[in-house]
């Protein structure tokens, strides 16, 4: 398990535990995300609070999860991104595909 999960009424808070989101854990992340979606989550809020570095393999998994989520009407939000990670996501325009929030609280405000 690389995600720490907290689920409240089909809204899942998923915190990525490793500091490096990379090739070594990208597949596991993808599987855990797809399982969450398959189990009926309506919104997954992924927290990057521990992540210092993200590589292209992990970005690929993130996007695969999104592609799996979209036709099932499941939303994926990203929260608590450190500046380097956020800059990279913005540089490659991922901010246009994912909704990004400062933290869980801000993301929850948006849905309430």
């Amino acid at each position: 398990m690389i995600l720490k999960i907290n689920e409240i009424e089909k809204v899942v808070q998923a915190t990525i535990m490793p500091h490096e989101a990379s090739l070594a854990n990208a597949d596991l992340f993808k599987e855990e995300m797809i399982t969450l979606i398959a189990n009926g989550a309506k919104l997954i809020i992924v927290s990057f609070e521990n992540v210092n570095y993200i590589d292209s393999s992990f970005l690929g998994s993130l996007v695969v999860a999104l592609k799996y989520a979209m036709p099932r009407n499941v939303d994926i939000y990203l929260v608590s991104l450190k500046p380097d990670v956020k800059n990279l996501l913005t540089l490659i325009r991922m901010d246009k595909v994912f909704k990004i929030f400062k933290d869980y609280e801000q993301a929850m405000e948006k849905i309430n």
Binding site: H19, N52, D55, V63
Partner: protein, 385 residues
């Protein structure tokens, strides 16, 4: 004192799982001295946690440990496809024949008795690591030969000659693997030349195999558009995007792309990007370095990738650098990070010189090696003559 042979060229990492503090220290000190990097865990559960992030070259595990014993640990490793291939050796004082057999039956490479003299243990481990390394090198060589025979190249061998421009490129695969980066040039006629660079998300072989599917689509799309006399890059990239989006075999694969069209007659460069990093553009007139951002999404992400097109006016001496994200991934204080502005500051001092690319190569690119490279790195450098 025991004289050890030369340390291997690249530091190999050994994970030692051993609950006995003294033995853990003794074995790691000997291995470190023999030129290996050691990672220590005092329990199997700690080792499993560590293996989420670490990929050692060899796991050396005790059998008798509290909570989870070595065999249960081995089973847990085997069940995780991400780490099940890591060579595994038992090192234990339990040498009952049936135990040894059980250990070896779990796909362990060896079962070493702790009573064995230390230098012999180290030699045994060294032989195991060396023979695995040789096998690995052989496999890579064979795959390379196969790929070359099939004439599938993701990086060209020679620089294209385009009137009015000087074009350089450079590529280094992650740890010497052919990876997911690709570069190509398609010369249409005396006036037009396409240049493109992309990065398939992922590393090593998996990404490399997919590059050929992508390259074929991109080359074909360019050729078709040339036949139709359609040189609008945004429509070309949108066509490529749609092909990839609809191709089920590429469903989980994404790629960035920077597509450029060099016009020798007007000195203009057309540009459309898909999830790529901003280009670096040096202007001779103002001696300023600026970045050029495109709006398009990664190829294959959504059916409509929102591609835009831009026209870069190149005056003599103006330069343009296009590169993949491996270039901006740098280790800092032992932590990995991605730093685009840092890369810009690193190459900026060499821009606007008569031999800018050679300077960048010597001062920036050649310092990229296995110890600091985190991903495939590629760059195309264009100068208007």
């Amino acid at each position: 004192m025991i004289a050890f042979e030369e340390a291997p060229a690249k530091l190999k990492k050994v994970l030692i799982v051993e609950d006995n503090l003294l033995f853990r220290k003794v074995i790691s000190a000997s291995l470190t001295k023999a030129g290996y990097q050691c990672v220590l865990c005092d329990s199997a559960s700690e080792a499993l946690k560590l293996l989420v992030n670490e990929q050692p070259d060899l796991i050396l595990s005790d059998y008798d440990m509290p909570e989870m014993n070595g065999f249960d640990f081995r089973q847990a490793v085997l069940q995780n496809p991400d780490i099940s291939d890591i060579p595994f050796v038992f090192l234990t004082s339990h040498t009952d024949n049936s135990l040894v057999l059980e250990g070896l039956n779990m796909n362990a490479l060896d079962y070493i008795n702790k009573e064995t003299p230390l230098p012999v243990i180290i030699s045994k481990l060294k032989n195991i690591i060396n023979s695995l390394e040789n096998e690995h090198i052989r496999s890579i060589r064979e795959l390379r030969i196969a790929a070359e025979t099939l004439n599938v190249k993701s990086i060209p061998t020679v620089r294209p000659q385009v009137a009015g421009y000087s074009i350089h490129f450079w590529h280094k695969g992650f740890r010497g693997y052919p990876g997911g980066d690709f570069i190509d040039f398609v010369q249409v006629d005396d006036r037009y030349c396409f240049a493109f660079l992309g990065d398939i998300m992922g590393k090593k072989w998996k990404a490399w195999f997919f590059t050929f599917g992508f390259l074929s689509y991109i080359r074909a799309a360019i050729r078709f558009c040339v036949l139709d006399n359609d040189f609008a890059l945004d429509t070309i990239v949108q066509k490529i995007n749609k092909l990839i989006y609809l191709d089920e075999s590429l469903q989980n694969i994404l790629s960035s792309l920077s597509l450029l069209l060099l016009d020798s007659q007007t000195g203009q460069i057309h540009y459309t990007g898909a999830g790529d990093l901003p280009l670096i553009n040096y202007k001779t007139e103002t001696r300023e370095t600026k970045t050029i951002l495109s709006s398009g999404l990664l190829l294959g992400l959504l059916e409509d990738g929102f591609y835009d097109k831009q026209l870069i006016q190149m005056s003599p001496g103006d330069q343009l650098a296009i590169f993949t994200d491996g270039m901006i991934d740098i280790p800092s204080d032992g932590l990995k990070k991605s730093d685009y502005p840092f890369f810009v500051t690193r190459i900026s001092p060499y821009l606007g010189m008569p031999d800018s690319f050679e300077l960048i190569r010597a001062n920036v690119l050649e310092s990229i090696d296995d110890s600091n490279q985190l991903d495939d790195s590629s760059i195309i450098f264009i100068e208007k003559l």
